[in-house]
Amino acid sequence: MQLVLNDTLTVIVLASIIIVLLVVSYVGILVTSNKRIFYEQQKKIDEITKSEKRYKALFETSLAGMMKFSFAPFIVFEANRAILDMFNVITDYDLQRVLSDLPNGQTDAIESALKNKGVIEAFEIEFPTTTGIKRRFLISAKKEETENLAHAVVVLMTAEKLFG
């Protein structure tokens, strides 16, 4: 039988084709924009990873003591080799025990300064090591915006050689 396409039937065919094309375009746009977003995200992640690696190297090799900690309650999350040597301890947990119980209320002073001002600058602390020698340090720390977390840099003031 010979098919005769009148206006209505032609409209049906054309409308179906147009709708399919629109839908395919929609899906195509989604895929393309997702690829772009994914590429941008990947680029940012790469940059962050690079930057993180750079700062990690700086953190680990620094002669100044560095640590990331929570001041209420006092928990050391990460500490570099230099700060462990300064306080004559082996692990982050040992350092946490030492710093959470400094003599003469020095721990409380650090905590309240960070709570109230969000920062401490060159605060002097004195700490007697197990060998009997008193060591004096300068600690500077800055609180993170959201939580009770802070980053600190510690410098040894006592004139003694720790390394080598």
């Binding site: 039988m1 098919l3 039937l9 049906i12 065919v13 409308a15 179906s16 709708i19 399919v20 629109l22 839908v23 395919v24 929609y26 899906v27 989604l30 895929v31 924009s33 997702n34 690829k35 977003i37 994914f38 995200q41």
Partner: protein, 210 residues
């Protein structure tokens, strides 16, 4: 009546996602396994429709039931994938509305020798609407390539099939009145898009649900 070869190709295409789904069964989670079962049901459904057609028995009831199951299963997948409460509520409400429409049609309007335009068109409309939202929701929360997500392939297959066939289905009875040759001519759109949708469904089983 001579069945076009393209119709056979379309019918066989239903077995592709079922076979891939069963082959990859162990890698699927419980939600995707439900979709594998749905694909198996679809393959069985098309076989039964073919046999019924050959025997001269009406297949509209089967087709309507398949439409209901398709909508519920796909909307359930979208619901499980989404974390947006408003979208989830919309999907749930859509399913309930469609079930009410379907039951009302079954009780009062179902005709065994005609395409049930209300059930078929409203089902496709809901699938298009929900698939557009599901794909948008997917890209919004995606942290990796969306082409690695099974819901993308299911959504894309569904939306292309449902959108492409909605006019032909809605006008189905009018076309049928013009003659079987006209109907077969227009039904090529349905068969073609069915093949595409089934290939997309099969592709979804090669992705990991994240």
């Amino acid at each position: 009546m001579k069945i076009p070869y393209f119709a056979y190709v379309s019918g066989v295409s239903f077995f592709i996602p079922a076979a891939v789904g069963l082959y990859k069964w162990k890698q699927q989670n419980r939600i995707m396994r439900l979709f594998v079962l749905f694909c198996c049901f679809s393959a069985l459904h098309v076989s039964v429709e073919y046999i019924f057609g050959r025997l001269g028995k009406p297949t509209q009831g089967l087709s309507n039931f398949h439409q209901l199951l398709e909508l519920v299963v796909i909307l359930f997948l979208y619901l499980k994938k989404s974390k947006d409460n408003r979208f989830r509520s919309a999907l749930f409400a859509s399913s309930i509305v469609y079930i009410i429409i379907w039951l009302s049609n079954k009780k009062f309007f179902e005709s065994i020798d005609k395409i049930n335009v209300v059930v078929q068109s409203s089902g496709r409309f809901l699938l298009i609407f929900c698939s557009i939202l599901a794909l948008y929701d997917l890209i919004k929360m995606s942290v990796s390539k969306i082409t690695n997500d099974p819901v993308f392939w299911i959504g894309a297959g569904t939306i292309i099939y449902a959108a492409g066939t909605i006019i032909v289905i809605t006008m189905g009875n009018i076309i049928l009145e013009m003659g079987v040759d006209y109907f077969i001519f227009f039904w090529h759109i349905n068969w073609g898009l069915t093949i595409i949708a089934n290939l997309f469904y099969a592709r979804s089983f090669l992705c990991n649900w994240s």
